[in-house]
Each structure stands twice: as structure tokens, then as C-alpha cells.
């Protein structure tokens, strides 16, 4: 049977509503991290730490011409929301904003944005790290690599290391 159980640690789930605003967008076009920062912080004086992670399309030392990202509409938003909500129940966050792009992306282009706001930096750093770890393993996106010669187009394999990265959240607080 080639079907696998989802080997990732089960996401900690809470029935409580998220204690802070969560903004999630799945878009084809680019985003502007500075504009997102301004929007998240607008009118706020309680935020003491804002962590912004931006994932970029890298060229793999010239071996990659483009990435094509396929996603499962509806489920992508829902899964990222579950991950974000889990983070808000684990750390005292004041805001979460996540953007994930799909479609064809060239090296140097932005792929994903995760922003976490909190009173203090430790919580914001940890929450952003947690969100990226779970997002990579649970959000239904698939990358296909386009090679510079235009011929080979291969689906990227999921990395073992990403699944192992989740296990550290079982113990960590």
C-alpha cells in the first residue's frame, strides 16, 4: 500500500476561537512585505515584536529556471488557518498574517510570507518558526522544478528533514 499515514505530529488543536486576528491569503501575484507590515501594525501600540519570514525561489546554483506551484484551493486556506490558530493558542500573539503564492515563480521571487506579532520577540520568533514547519508539511502545495534546458520538469520530493523538524515542537513550549 503506497498510501502513508500523515507522519507529521498531530497539530495541537483547540476549539477556542483564535485570540488574535489571523489574515491568510493564497494568491498568484506578488506581495509587498513592507505594505503587509504597515497593515498589520496600523493603529497598534501594543506590538513590541514583529517577526517577518519571507521564503524565496532560489536558483539552485543555476540548476533551476522556474518553480511551478500547484495548490488545492479551499484546503490550502483551511490548513494554513489551522496551523495559524494552533500557534495563537500556543503563544500570546497579537497578530498573524500569512501569504502563500501559487503559479509559476522565477528565481528571486517571493513565495511565502509569515508575519507574527507579539509583545516580546521570543514568542514572535517561535510562532513564526512553528508556523513554517507545519505549513511545509500540511499545506497542500506542490512544487515542480523547471530546468534551464527547458526539458526536465520534476516534482520536488518532500524532505525527511521537514518532517523531523516538526517533532521538536512536541516537547518545546
Amino acid at each position: 500500500m503506497p498510501v502513508s499515514e500523515i507522519p507529521v505530529s498531530d497539530l495541537p488543536v483547540s476549539d477556542l476561537p483564535a485570540p488574535c486576528a489571523i489574515d491568510i491569503r493564497i494568491i498568484e501575484g506578488d506581495f509587498d512585505p513592507a505594505a503587509e507590515t504597515a497593515a498589520l501594525c496600523a493603529g497598534r501600540t501594543d506590538i513590541g515584536a514583529l517577526v517577518t519570514f519571507t521564503g524565496l525561489c532560489r536558483d539552485e546554483q543555476g540548476a533551476l529556471a522556474a518553480l511551478e506551484l500547484e495548490h488545492y484551493p479551499g484546503m490550502a486556506e483551511a490548513e494554513i488557518a489551522r496551523v495559524a490558530e494552533a500557534a495563537t493558542h500556543r503563544w500570546p500573539l497579537l497578530g498573524v498574517r500569512i501569504i502563500h503564492r501559487y503559479g509559476k515563480l522565477m528565481p528571486g521571487e517571493r513565495i511565502v510570507l509569515v508575519m507574527t506579532a507579539s509583545s516580546h520577540r521570543a514568542n514572535a520568533f517561535a510562532a513564526a518558526d512553528f508556523i513554517m514547519d507545519f505549513l511545509k508539511n500540511r499545506a497542500p502545495f506542490w512544487k515542480k522544478e523547471h530546468k534551464p534546458d527547458g526539458t526536465a520538469k520534476d516534482w520536488v520530493d518532500a524532505k525527511e528533514i521537514d518532517e523531523h523538524a516538526l517533532k521538536r515542537w512536541d516537547q518545546a513550549t
Binding site: 500500500m1 503506497p2 498510501v3 502513508s4 499515514e5 500523515i6 521564503g55 506551484l69 500547484e70 495548490h71 488545492y72 479551499g74 484546503m75 490550502a76 483551511a78 490548513e79 502563500h100 513565495i111 511565502v112 513554517m132 505549513l135 511545509k136 508539511n137 500540511r138 499545506a139 497542500p140 502545495f141 506542490w142 512544487k143 515542480k144 516534482w155 520536488v156 520530493d157 518532500a158
Partner: protein
Amino acid sequence: MKLVYFAWVRERIGLAEEERELPPELATIADVITWLRQQGEPYEHAFGGAGTIRAALDKTHAKPNAAIAGVREIAFFPPMTGG
């Protein structure tokens, strides 16, 4: 039942989605896969070939032994590679 496929599962089958009458005796995701493998070479290639497949029921991750009763949409796809 609406079946949807992504990434190389979609490419091997040659369809992004399809509507299928599933035999009533199919109870779990694993049962559906066993049945799909008998639906022609592309399905055998997708579900019996190399690579790990995961599934979702109504857009929620599900394990192979999950019951499909009452479900409207089953998705099959490789392990995710987003982020």
C-alpha cells in the same frame, strides 16, 4: 463521489478531477485506492507505482483507514512541498 488529484497523481491519471460512482462496499480511503487501481493502467501507475500518496476527505487530511461515509470529495496527492 468527486475525486480530485494533484501533482504527479494528477499527471499519471491524466485528470484533475472526476465524478465516480463508488461501489457501496468501499468503506475507507484504502478501499477506494484498491478499487481505483483496478480502473485501468493510469490508475495502477498512479496508485501502485513509486511514491507515497496522501489523501484528504472534504479538504481535511485523512489516514488510509478513515471512513468515507458521508464524504463528498476525496483528494489524492503526494506529500506536500509548499513553503
